[in-house]
Structures are given as structure tokens and as C-alpha cells.
């Protein structure tokens, strides 16, 4: 009864919307027929309950202008009989699927339930409900696909029909509706793989299917299944690590034979966690890009290379490989042929087809790109004999991570590693034309070098922290980490607080838009000789550093008490940065400046506790040589100098005139023997 009630309410609605539709369509015949039908409905209403036939439904639904509403949206409810007839469901009653309309009255309710596939396809439906898609749909995810999203509704065709949405050729497009790049599903749902459809279409499978029309090739559903799609983390998934071999083997039945050299067949399935799964080598969706050719087991290589006496035919250097070193290296899980690519397993000497040197960038692609841009990389590209390749720094079979203290790239070992070429007299130092000298020695004595190499503080800046590991470039390159523009941020990697202060200061290009050259960290702190900023040596030297640009102001500073004391070599006096700040120097108009009107007394009070406003009026850069700027000092100085000259001139003349007379007088005294007597008495004492 409940259904009927809703039906009654729905009826009026249908009629009303009908009328609107009619006026819109404007066909007299249709109006007439509609009125008739409505009338008939009213007549038969009390009779009710009978099984509709398809023709009953089609009475209304053959009208291609027929519309209804679903969730408040107007939709066409026209059913194309031809389409239906050519679908797999031809001959099936409408109510077989639209079960909720069975025995319903005319006109039936609005917001008809979804067609029920489950009634017939119960097995498949059960799978679907457990799948990723089904679970999402049950949760009400509006992006989750329902049966008809893949299969269609009245137009459902069999999988063998090439016009079917689920024909193998159409499947990538079908899945791509939701899974191609940029779709809401790819963006908003947690899907690890990217460019799925694109990669697939370029893969050997995709190419076979889409370009060559090979419909037996693997398409999305071949691996993921059609209905019980599960994430690879689900142990029941067809693409779970444990199951992937079986999934692939559905087509590649003989794959174990093909891979026999890589994996001892049986183990593959028994201990899936120990051995690589297909996708470890053949990336999903990129199946063609095989990491290494066909499979070449390390043992096959070691058959020869385990021999200590094996030598290259050309330069006779040893080709012996200590496999234990490889196994204890960072690459213990990587097979020989993955790096030494180009082997031909079918050859007696599989390696005879290797033509290329080991290319690390086949795995370490991004680092390889960086390296190519670097000075090392550009020299290497020019075949410069001095250019270091990957192995110069990282080693070959013995590669260890940078966390391993035995690794040459362990922070503490890096200075020595770079020193191999950059120490004075070595290959890189010889061709270096810049101003830095004794780089390694200076670094070792610097605060960074001492911290790293003497105190063993591994977070201390080592060569690569400033120069980068793979993208090192000369300082005049704009991309260089040590380009003047980039130095603050390079140092700021560790000294972040100082970088923040500095970038708000007058010395920073970010703050000061000037054409003049601005100082960066290394102008004051040096590049490799960096010493503690609180050391005496630094404190004294910093004034010369400021003076390199601020010549006049620095020289007048040395005329004042502060400057004179520091000139004597003492630091317990105001030096440039004590008043101006070190990294936060600002023009005095800036309210944050240490020398701004509002702050200057406080600045003086740092040393002169009782300083007052007038005290701050002391000229800290005074000179008595500037009558315009400092008239008082100028005239005082010349007044004093005048007095001095006057006194000395008068006294000097007096003395000079006196001298000859005094000599004469002495002679007279001598005659009287008074001098002698005096001298003798003095000598005898």
C-alpha cells in the first residue's frame, strides 16, 4: 500500500510536467494522446495490479521527447526499442531489470530505482560489491562506477561485439574515462600510478592492442580483472605482489621458462616475497621499459668474473669481481646486468654485446640530469680526462650509502674525496683560475672543517653542502649554489635564522634595489676560511671587510677612541657590527635600525650603561679634517695645532740662540775648573 500512496502523489506530478513538456513540444497529436492516456490512467487506477508487458512500458517510453526527473534533474526517459532489441538483453522484460516497477500503477513513480543487474548476474555482482569500485559506491562515493557506467544500460552488448563498451579495444578508453590524467578520480582519490592510460598505450600491451588491433593482448581488465578490482595491497587482488605472477602467467604461460636464468622457476611462486615480482622489472603500465634485458643471473656473470686471473683483452686490467663486496654494497639487490646493460643471455659470452659503459642514470635519472648540467658533467661530456664520473666519487662495486661511515661520500670523508682533485697541485686545483687558494687546508682549519673532521659533527657543512653533490658549478654561473645571488639561501640551508635577518637587511638584494655590488655571506666570512664570529681574529678583521666598501666611514672610525682601541688589537670596544648590527643592518631611517633615533640610546647602553640621549650625539666617525661637517672639531684641531706650533717656534728660537752662549759659558766655567771638579766628583761616585 505504501507504494501505491507514493504512486498517487507521483501521478499528479507526471501529469503536470507532462503538460509543460507538451506545450514546449507543440505537437497537437501528442497533446491529444497524452490527455487520452491520462484519462485512461484515471479510469484504470482503482483496478491496479497486473504484470506489465514491454509493450505497456513502450506505450509511453517510445516517445523520444518523454522526460522524467531524477533527484530533481530533468532527464530523458525515452527507450530506443531498436537499441534494446540489438542488445544482449533483447527479449528480456523491462521489469526484469526495473524490478521496482513490477506491478506498479500507471503512471509509475518518479525517481525510479536503478536497474537491478544482480537479479541475473548475482555472481558478478557479488564480486563487484567486494571490489574497490563496489565498496566506494556503497559508501556513496559519487565518483564510483556502477554497472551501467561500464556496460551501458539498454544498449548493453557482449564483450565480443566490437561496438561494445567493454570490447577489449575499448576498455582502455572506458577505464580512461576515470583513470586518465587530470580526471577527478586521479586527482582526488588515492591512486599511486600516474599517466596510467598514456603509459599503457605506449607499452607493449597497449601498442599491441591499440595500434595493431591485437585483441588478445592484455588490457586493463586482463590484469586488474573486470569486476573484483582491488588495490595491490589487498592480498586477494590480482595485482597483489603474491598474485601478480599468476596474473601475468594467464597470458605469459611460459614466462617461467623465459625467466629461468633470473629466477629458479619454482621459487618464484612459492616465495614471492623473496624473489622479484613481475612488476619489479616490468613496470605496470610501462611494460616495455624493461630494466634489464631478458634476465641474466649474477651467477652467470660470476662464472667467469669470479676468477681472480681474468683480465681485459685490451689493457689487461683485472676483470675479477669480488662478489662479496657487491653483496655488502648499496646495490646488493641489484643484479649485474641491471647496470652492465646490453647483455645477450643467448650468447656464449653474454657480455660480448655490451657496448656502453655503466650508465647510472638509467636508474638515478634525476641525479644524472643534474650531473650533466654540472661542471663535472660538462667536462665529462667533453671527454676531459680529469672529469670525475659517478664512480670517481661513489666507487664501483663497493658503493655504500652516505650514511655508512666507510663510504667515500660519508660527510666526514667528503673533504678528502674532493681533495683528491682539489688539493693544491692536484688536477682540478691546477686548472682552477679563481681567487681561492689552499682550499682543502683552509677548509680543514675553518669552523666547518674543525666541526666535521675534528669533532666529527656530521651535520657540519662539508664541500657538498655548499657546492651541492651533483650540480656543482663555478660561482659565476647563475645556477650555481655559490653564485652571489644564491649564497644566502645556500648558507641559509643551515643558518636559516641568519638568512631571514640578512634578507631583510640593506646588504640583501631582496631589500636593497641598487646597482652597486652587495656583499654576501662569503664577503665577510670568507668561503673556506670561515672562523667563529666570536673569535678575536674575526672581530678585528671584520672592520677591514666593512672598510673595503665603506672606505671613508671606516677610516674616520679609526680616528675615534673605538677605532683606536681596535687598531691596537683589542676587541672590547665598539666595532662596526656592535652598533650597526651584523646581519640586520638597516638604514638609520628604518625604525628597526639599531641606529634609528628610537634605538640608538639602547645601542650605546649595550656598553655604556648610563648612556643618555646627548651621549649618543658623540660622533663615532668624527674627523677634524672636514670643516663643513664637523666645524667644531676642525677649528679645535687647528686652534690646538696653532698653539703647539707657536709655542715650539718661540721656545725653539730661544733655545737655538741660547746654545752658542751656553757653550761659551761652559768654556768659561771650564777655565775656572768648576766643570772638571763637577765631572770628577761625578766619576768618582
Amino acid at each position: 500500500m505504501k507504494i501505491q500512496e507514493t504512486n498517487k502523489q507521483g501521478k499528479m506530478k507526471v501529469n503536470f510536467s507532462y503538460i509543460i513538456d507538451i506545450t514546449a513540444s507543440g505537437s497537437f497529436l501528442k497533446i491529444f494522446r497524452s490527455i487520452l492516456v491520462s484519462f485512461l490512467y484515471l479510469l484504470v487506477l482503482p483496478v491496479s495490479r497486473y504484470a506489465q508487458e514491454n509493450s505497456d512500458c513502450m506505450m509511453c517510453h517510445e516517445d523520444n521527447s518523454l522526460s522524467g526527473t531524477r533527484k530533481g534533474k530533468q532527464i530523458s526517459v525515452f527507450v530506443n526499442q531498436k537499441t534494446l532489441a540489438s542488445s544482449v538483453h533483447s527479449g528480456i522484460d523491462c521489469i526484469s531489470c526495473h524490478t521496482d516497477l513490477e506491478e506498479s500503477d500507471f503512471p509509475h513513480k518518479e525517481d525510479v530505482d536503478k536497474a537491478q543487474c544482480k537479479t541475473c548476474h548475482d555472481e558478478v555482482s557479488a564480486k563487484y560489491e567486494k571490489s574497490l569500485h563496489g565498496k566506494a559506491a556503497a559508501k556513496g562515493d559519487r565518483l564510483a562506477p556502477l554497472c551501467q557506467d561500464c556496460h551501458g544500460s539498454h544498449n548493453i552488448k557482449g564483450v565480443k561485439d566490437s561496438k561494445s563498451l567493454i570490447a577489449p579495444l575499448n576498455i582502455p578508453a572506458l577505464c580512461g574515462k576515470c583513470h586518465k590524467e587530470g580526471t577527478p578520480v586521479q586527482q582526488q582519490r588515492n591512486i599511486e600510478q600516474t599517466n596510467i592510460i598514456e603509459n599503457y598505450s605506449e607499452s607493449i600491451h597497449g601498442e599491441g592492442l591499440l595500434k595493431k588491433g591485437l585483441i588478445v593482448t592484455a588490457t586493463c581488465t586482463s590484469c586488474h580483472t573486470a569486476h573484483d578490482i582491488l588495490p595491490h595491497t589487498d592480498p586477494g587482488s590480482s595485482i597483489a605482489r603474491k598474485n601478480i605472477a599468476n596474473t601475468c602467467a594467464k597470458c605469459h604461460a611460459e614466462i617461467e621458462l623465459v625467466h629461468r636464468k633470473v629466477i629458479k622457476g619454482a621459487l618464484w611462486e612459492k616465495e614471492a616475497n623473496v624473489l622479484p615480482a613481475c612488476v619489479d622489472c616490468h613496470q605496470p603500465h610501462k611494460a616495455r621499459k624493461v630494466f634489464y634485458d631478458q634476465g641474466m643471473a649474477d651467477l652467470d656473470c660470476l662464472g667467469c668474473h669470479n676468477n681472480r686471473d681474468i683480465k681485459a683483452s685490451g689493457n689487461k686490467h683485472s676483470l675479477f669481481v669480488d662478489y662479496s663486496i657487491v653483496k655488502s654494497s648499496r646495490h646488493s639487490n641489484i643484479s649485474c646486468s641491471q647496470c652492465h646493460s646490453g647483455v645477450s643471455p643467448s650468447h656464449i659470452r653474454p657480455c660480448d654485446s655490451i657496448t656502453q659503459k655503466v650508465d647510472c642514470s638509467s636508474c638515478h635519472a634525476e641525479i644524472g640530469e643534474e650531473y650533466k648540467l654540472s661542471m663535472h658533467g660538462t667536462l665529462e661530456a667533453k671527454n676531459d680526462p680529469n672529469a670525475p664520473s659517478c664512480s670517481e666519487c661513489h666507487g664501483t662495486h663497493n658503493i655504500l650509502g652516505n650514511k655508512d661511515s666507510k663510504s667515500p661520500i660519508f660527510p666526514i670523508n667528503i673533504p678528502n674525496l674532493c681533495a683528491k682533485c682539489h688539493r693544491e697541485g692536484e688536477s682540478a686545483a691546477v686548472r682552477y683560475t679563481g681567487s681561492e687558494t689552499e682550499i682543502i687546508e683552509n677548509y680543514t682549519e675553518s669552523i666547518h672543517g674543525k666541526g666535521l673532521m675534528k669533532s666529527g659533527l656530521t651535520v657540519t657543512a662539508t664541500c657538498t653542502d655548499c657546492h651541492t653533490a651533483h650540480r656543482e658549478l663555478p660561482h659565476d654561473s647563475l645556477l650555481s649554489s655559490i653564485n652571489p645571488n644564491n649564497i644566502p639561501s645556500t648558507c641559509g640551508n643551515c643558518h636559516h635564522g641568519i638568512q631571514e635577518k640578512f634578507e631583510k637587511s640593506i646588504h640583501s638584494a631582496k631589500f636593497n634595489k641598487t646597482d652597486k655590488a652587495l656583499p654576501t655571506c662569503d664577503d665577510c666570512h670568507t668561503a673556506h676560511k670561515i672562523i667563529r664570529a666570536d673569535s678575536e681574529g674575526f672581530k678585528l678583521k671584520i672592520m677591514d671587510q666593512c672598510g673595503r666598501c665603506h672606505e671613508v666611514i671606516a677610516s674616520t672610525y679609526f680616528e675615534t677612541y673605538h677605532g683606536k682601541v681596535s687598531q691596537l688589537g683589542y676587541t672590547k670596544t665598539a666595532k662596526c657590527y656592535d652598533c650597526h648590527g651584523a646581519h640586520d643592518i638597516l638604514p638609520i631611517e628604518n625604525p628597526a635600525s639599531h641606529l634609528n633615533r628610537r634605538n640608538i640610546v639602547q645601542t650605546c647602553q649595550k656598553c655604556h650603561i648610563n648612556a643618555n640621549k646627548q651621549f649618543a650625539g658623540y660622533f663615532t666617525h668624527a674627523t677634524h679634517h672636514d670643516p663643513q661637517k664637523y666645524p667644531w672639531l676642525f677649528w679645535t684641531f687647528w686652534g690646538m695645532t696653532g698653539l703647539l706650533i707657536f709655542t715650539f717656534v718661540i721656545a725653539g728660537i730661544h733655545t737655538l740662540l741660547w746654545l752658542p752662549r751656553s757653550l761659551q759659558w761652559r768654556r768659561q766655567l771650564n777655565k775656572k775648573k768648576l766643570i772638571d771638579k763637577k765631572n770628577n766628583s761625578g766619576n768618582n761616585e
Binding site: A622, M640, K677
Partner: protein
Amino acid sequence: MNSEDIQKTNAGTDQQEVREDGKIVINETQIERFSRLNRILHVLMIVSFISLALTGMTLKFSYTSWAVFLSKLFGGFELAGYVHRFAAFIMFIVFITHIIDLIRIKRKEKKTLKEFLFDQDSMLFNKHDLKDFIDSLKWFLGLGERPEYGRWTYWEKFDYFAVFWGICVIGSTGLTLWFPEFFTQFMPGWVINVATIIHSDEALLATGFIFTVHFFNTHLRPEKFPMDIVIFSGRIPLEEFKLDRPKEYQELIEKGELEKHLVEAYQPIVIKTIKVFGWIALITGFSIIIWIIYAMIFVYK
């Protein structure tokens, strides 16, 4: 005693006798020119003045390596600063003691202020000094005899008042620099800069004057060469006194006060000590002059 006698006694050294207690007696009549207090004050003055000069010059000529060396010798600029201020304190004490001594003498001699200031033995310039000065110039130019100098010569009076002037100028500016926070409470900040210039240049004048002009006038002029120790011993042989200060001698005879001033000569060991001290002071003074000339002329900044 005539001069021949003196020569004889000198040759035979019979003017010197060794007493039983080991002390040496010099049989020579000497006259005391400086009281014990004045001699002590002068020694203190020398010590403080040289200390002030050395420590002060390290700052004034901080651009010379000598300054760096000396500053280190004094144990750093801070210790040098303490030495400088302590020496200044001694100088003030010397100055004040001298003033008190003058007042004491005035009371002792029961003189009015006018008498005290303007009598013949006063340090104030008077008409006689002008006459002495003009006569001296005449003597220098060969237009007259050596003037008969009295108790104080005009150049001695000049030196004396130069100290007064120096104490006032250097002392006041020095105090300003010593307590800048206090003085800027009622003076603008640039006064400190001005005080620095005055203090430094007046000190240059003082050291320059003392270590050249004063040294010449009292020690280096040929008749006294290499030094006159009278300021330390306080006494000179009567014979020498007669020739050097004929006027004063004459006056003492007239007043009949000569006997009052006659004293025994000091022990040779005392004289020797005085001379060692004198040499140290002289050499330090000359060194400072050389340093000043080097700093001002050769490496001036």
C-alpha cells in the same frame, strides 16, 4: 778656596773621607735650593707624567706598531687605561699637595697674600723677569753679558706655569673623557669629540715641550750637560751656585741667610741612584720624542 786649590784637592780626592762607619763624607759646601717635599713632588710628577705620556700615546698613535707593542707591555688597553687614570690621580695629588704647601708656607712666613704673590722669590712673573728676558736675548745676540739670574729664572717660571695650564686643560678634558655619561647630561655629545682633540693635542704639546725645551733648559744646555740633578738632590755646590745665580747669592749674603741654607753633600750612593733615575727619565723622554716624530712625520694617518 781658589781654583788651583780645588784642582789639587780633586786630584788627591782628599775632599772625600771614609768615616769609620763606612760612610763617605764629602767635604764640600752645598746650598739647598729645593725643599724635601718639592723634590718628592717632582719625582712623583715625573713618574706620573711619563706614565700618562706612554699610555696616552698608545691611543694617539695607535696606528704605529710601537703603540701596539707598548699597549701589550701595559697589559692591554684596559690596563693601560687604568694606569693612565691612576697616574692622572697622582698628578692631581701632586698638584693639590703643592697648593696646600704654598698656603702652609704663606702662613709660616706670616706674609699677606700680596707679599706672598709679589715678593722677589715668588713664582709669578715680575718686572725683573722681563729685564732678565731682554738681557738674556741681548746676551744670546752678543750684545751684553750673561744676566745675573736670581732665585727663579723666567724660563723656570714659564715651565712652572705651563704645568698649571696643562693640569687645567688636560685635567678637565681628561675628566670629561673619563666620565662621558656624566658630562653629556648637561653637554652635547660632540663635546666628547672636542675634548678628545684638546686632551690629545695639549698632551702632545706638554710632552713635546717637556722632553725637548725643558730638557734642554735644565739638563742638556752645555753648562749642565748631561743633566742637572738639583731637583732630586735639592742642593748644588756653593761655588757653582755663586756663578749660576749671582743675584740670589748676593741677596742671601745681604740678608745674612746664607748659612741657613748651607748643607752637607749627599752620599755618592744617593747621587748614583738619583743619576740612574735621571737617566731613565731622560731616555724615556727622548724615546717618546723619537716616537712622536716617527708617528707624526713618517707614518701619519
